[in-house]
Symmetry: C2
Subunit: 229 residues, 2 copies
DNA sequence: AAAACCCTTCGCCGCGCAGCGAACTGTCCG
DNA sequence: CGGACAGTTCGCTGCGCGGCGAAGGGTTTT
């Protein structure tokens, strides 16, 4: 019997501190040791050991720049596999309660390299409603439309082997939203256009007033309650 | 930040004994405690504890029948998530060596509810070559063809939300083969027609002479080396 | 040069847990 | 009824590993 080394991966994600770090890294940004240590609630020494383990497991890569070491997920496949796991993992009820209290914190955020959270779910729903996107065989198929260009998306001429618009299951909503190259384009464009901004210290993103207006104009999407305070 | 309880799943698959059991269960059959204990190389008491943990994690369900308890994977989602993990997990080189020595053992086998291994990969390649199946956006799309009926597959009238032919990455070959409802139909038909048979005590399946002839006739597929001794 | 800062390595403590032997429950069979 | 067998529970042992404090190597700032 051939057994993939699940245990190596499993051991990597079997610890609450490490999963906390991984969830942090799912934002797609690179983080320093100290930041991840704070996120997991442990000292830097401990975080250092955890990150070395995650590195050995191939889930995380490190990049030294000056006196800081920046850690990030090893690739989109890793983020994708973790999403899949999240789909069958029981949600943390404790943190779910925090989410309700925190309110907007989880409303708009990024998932590795694309938008996630309620905003992304709402946008995807708008794509489907307007016929810009079709769900078929559990995959997304983009339909040529003028709206795409306004969202910073240029559709490929021919469908490639990799899905251009990959469905990604949101952790909180348990609903699909757009990932893959199209998701990346949308996030890049939204950041470049100032529709969303990264928080300085808090995690997550904030939807700006221009962003709200643009989404309303292009997709007829009302973003009530999603604008950060 | 919302964190799915990766750690619960992670702890479940962080132990080599448990992963061994899970790989065994990936065959799709139900196994008794004793069988799984033998597969993992531990005593029944230890296996019992492991299985209770896997049950608590929601990966495995147990069914009591007489004095035996049959364990099986909790569902196709679990099998799917494990496949995804296997895609980024380093393969076990030790067992890879065993595979080469064992030869036909890994050639034909099932992956939860569909055929897997080199045979399934070869069949999928034949589907694609003959135009019965198309790969698009990383998904499979079945094309109506007479061959499908001979393989026990009746194509659905309209594409549903769930993919009918889901691509599944094989552990050993790292190549795609057909899973999902279509994969299940093919395996069911192959078992029902006597094309493949389950080994009595050994794991895996064996391709019969009628099976070889049928595949050659329908798909022009030569199965040299895949027939069990 | 000294101070501040980021990260890592080392050594230690303590918990958690995999593993087994022994004993117990429940089921099937003669 | 009594033996055989599957599974579980209990108690124990030993290893692994998460955690931190202390100390050391590098880099940036003053």
């Amino acid at each position: 019997m051939i057994t993939p080394r699940f245990d190596i991966l499993g051991q990597a994600i079997s610890d609450a501190s490490r999963t906390q770090m991984l969830c942090e890294l799912m934002e797609g940004r690179a983080y320093t040791n100290k930041e991840l240590a704070a996120a997991a609630g442990v000292t830097p020494q401990t975080a250092s050991a955890h990150l070395r383990l995650l590195q050995d497991a191939g889930l995380v890569v490190a990049e030294k720049r000056g006196r800081c070491v920046y850690h990030r997920l090893a690739g989109a496949e890793v983020a994708h596999a973790l999403e899949q796991l999240a789909a069958i993992a029981p949600a943390d009820s404790l943190h779910r309660a925090q989410q309700r209290k925190a309110g907007d914190l989880a409303q708009v955020r990024s998932c590795y390299d694309h938008l996630a959270g309620p905003l992304a779910v709402a946008m995807t729903r708008a794509f489907l409603d307007r016929g810009m996107l079709q769900e078929e065989h559990g995959a997304f198929r983009a339909v040529p439309a003028g709206e795409w260009l306004k969202l910073g998306v240029i559709l490929p001429e021919k469908p490639g082997r990799q899905p251009f618009a990959r469905p990604c299951l949101d952790w909180t909503e348990r609903k699909l939203h757009v990932a893959g190259p199209m998701g990346r384009l949308i996030l890049d464009h939204a950041l470049g256009s100032g529709w969303v901004k990264r928080h300085r210290h808090k995690r997550g993103l904030m939807l700006t007033t221009p962003g709200t207006r643009a989404l309303e104009q292009i997709l007829d999407l009302s973003c009530g309650g999603l604008v950060a305070a």
